[in-house]
Symmetry: C2
Subunit: 359 residues, 2 copies
């Protein structure tokens, strides 16, 4: 078999049993005589797949009935435009810039109205999450936008930010389904699926029903949440196969104890790595302790050449995609739900050995 431990930030590891089931069902899904890739999205057999996928996702995330789940395309980057186009009713929105993607979301929103950055951690290379209090939010802002886990810098909100009675919108691309969240505290949660849920090409949006139907008139129809909700994500052909794989992943997560169990396992995995880093003389974690991501663990040796050597030797030993994002360098171990504890244990052992050899 020779599977590697894949620490890619996304697309990233999927549970092996999910891949094996997808392979087994590839030419004939459940006696249908065809692949899920070949099914009409309006056929009863596919309808059962997408409905079950949504039902399992709702169970997993404990999504209340007054929230719609949308299966869309275009990635979080498309949502950066969709959010202001749908939600900027008064034309004002407040943004927290805690990394590269929240910066992009803020920049995109400025195209469509008065978007204001109310807090940023740019002063310390986004190594922490700025604190938010309700008084920082403008009285007439339509919403406050945050990126809940910053993939590139390895930081995460330690708790749901307090924005008072304002609508909170969160990009959860790199932490969704990693632990339970109280959906009722958010107006919109969105996520590219390619980190913790499915292959790339699927974007999931969870939106409170009362926030739909107020989009700008000139919004591209495909970005209008109400259109997509009214058509159960089938205004046009959805990314059927990615939705099917997401469904297999949700079933896997439920079978393995749901999000409480995911959280427990993810905390254990992250602790293994951070504990080692905190005690290492060679490696150093880059994010402030309080704001450390459970999903993306960023670290450096302080020596670029040594970072490079580490990534190269790690890859040769079967620990791949440990290079940090091209904009920041260093290393990043992304340890999403599908990364087994043994993968992190083995990585720590390898790092110990590397440290001893390069002391």
């Amino acid at each position: 078999m020779n599977r590697v431990y894949n620490f890619s930030a996304g697309p990233s590891m999927l549970p092996l049993e999910v891949l094996e089931q997808a392979a087994a069902e590839m030419t004939n899904y459940n006696g249908s005589g065809m692949s899920v890739m070949e099914m009409s999205h309006r056929s009863p057999v596919y309808d059962a797949i997408i409905k079950q996928t949504e039902a399992d996702f709702r169970t997993l995330m404990n999504i209340p009935d007054n929230y719609k789940v949308l299966f869309l395309q275009g990635g979080a980057s498309t949502q950066f435009a969709a959010i202001p186009l749908n939600l900027m009713k008064t034309g004002k929105a407040d943004y927290v810039v805690s990394g590269q993607f929240s910066g992009k979301a803020f920049k995109e929103a400025k195209k469509y109205g008065d978007a204001k950055c109310i807090a940023t951690s740019e002063d310390k290379t986004f190594s922490y999450i700025p604190e938010i209090t309700p008084d920082m939010v403008r009285e007439d802002a339509d919403y406050v936008h945050v990126c809940y886990n910053n993939t590139i810098f390895g930081t995460k909100y330690p708790e749901v930010p307090n924005v008072g009675d304002k609508v909170l919108v969160a990009d959860m691309s790199s932490c969704i389904t990693s632990e339970p969240v109280d959906v009722t505290k958010f107006g919109v949660i969105y996520a590219g699926a390619q980190k913790n849920m499915a292959p790339a090409g699927l974007t999931v949006v969870i939106i409170r029903e009362d926030l739909m139907g107020t989009a700008r008139e000139d919004i591209p129809t495909m970005l209008d949440y109400k259109t997509m909700a009214d058509n159960d994500s089938m205004y046009n052909t959805p990314p059927c196969y990615a939705i099917y794989v997401a469904g297999l992943v949700y079933k896997w997560a439920l079978k393995n104890g749901g999000l409480e169990a995911m959280k427990e396992r993810n905390e254990k995995k992250a602790a293994l790595l951070y504990d080692f880093l905190d005690n290492s003389k060679l490696f150093k974690a880059t994010a402030e302790k309080k704001y450390r991501s459970m999903m993306n663990v960023c670290f450096v040796t302080g020596d670029e050449a040594l970072d490079k050597k580490f990534c190269k030797e790690a890859a040769e030993a079967g620990f791949v995609n440990l290079k940090g994002h091209r904009s920041v360098g260093g290393m990043r171990a992304s340890i999403y739900n599908a990364m087994p504890t043994e993968g992190v244990q083995a990585l720590v052992e390898f790092m110990k050995k590397f440290e001893a050899e390069n002391a």
Copy 2:
């Protein structure tokens, strides 16, 4: 195995050997130790996949160097907005409405400027393609938009419409790669991939380079062709797995003789079905002869109850998804590249038998 003959209009049949290869490579692609679904889109192994996919597509379609190929998301429906947002420089564009999707494209364009319907076949339920001559196009129109094959009504342009020196934009979702086309006659060709090329979730755009860079300032970044071209379709994470399957399909098409061979085989398949229909006392093709689609063959018995009986019995015999689009009823056999000649032969035999039994 028990594979059915799947006449779905899209998503639709894929070559069995493509599905088998995808299944075989599912948990470990080419010794990488991971699935294509799990690969970082910026990794060398994935970079080789997307580059080879583009190269094979360029060979297959004979795409000149001054055209860019973009691998996008959102389906043709997203392009209905992207086209005017990118190309309406003077604010005027002319549309031919030859079916439901071209009607949707026209309606969407009206959001962004002075879109004019210069010809339509709505008077005869879109059973033909209206003739276009250069004098019908407005002098200052930025482009003329057509839908080259109308999936729902089973019609196709018999030749490239003559729009003089104007930029011709064509939605080729349901006929791309079914036969050779002279790309140089078009400014933009776009297609949802889920009919003739790949699973749903991938949209391919072929665009002449000089047509990029003039998008409206408030265009969503993800819809800006120049942004996508400058980043080789990797401004954000592309639909990696759908691109990989498209690559397998392109290799299959090249191995089987390229688009000349596809055309020959498709003509033969379509002739088998239309010849039967033209001689049938029970069934009748709905599209005018001159404009018949090679990909979507629409027909009726003239009796709704009998149509229903036919679809039911056909499905039981392993000929599935023959029901016409919910907006028009009747029957539709979509016979894309991946439908083998034997599938059409077997369907004709079944139709003969049904006709004899229901005379």
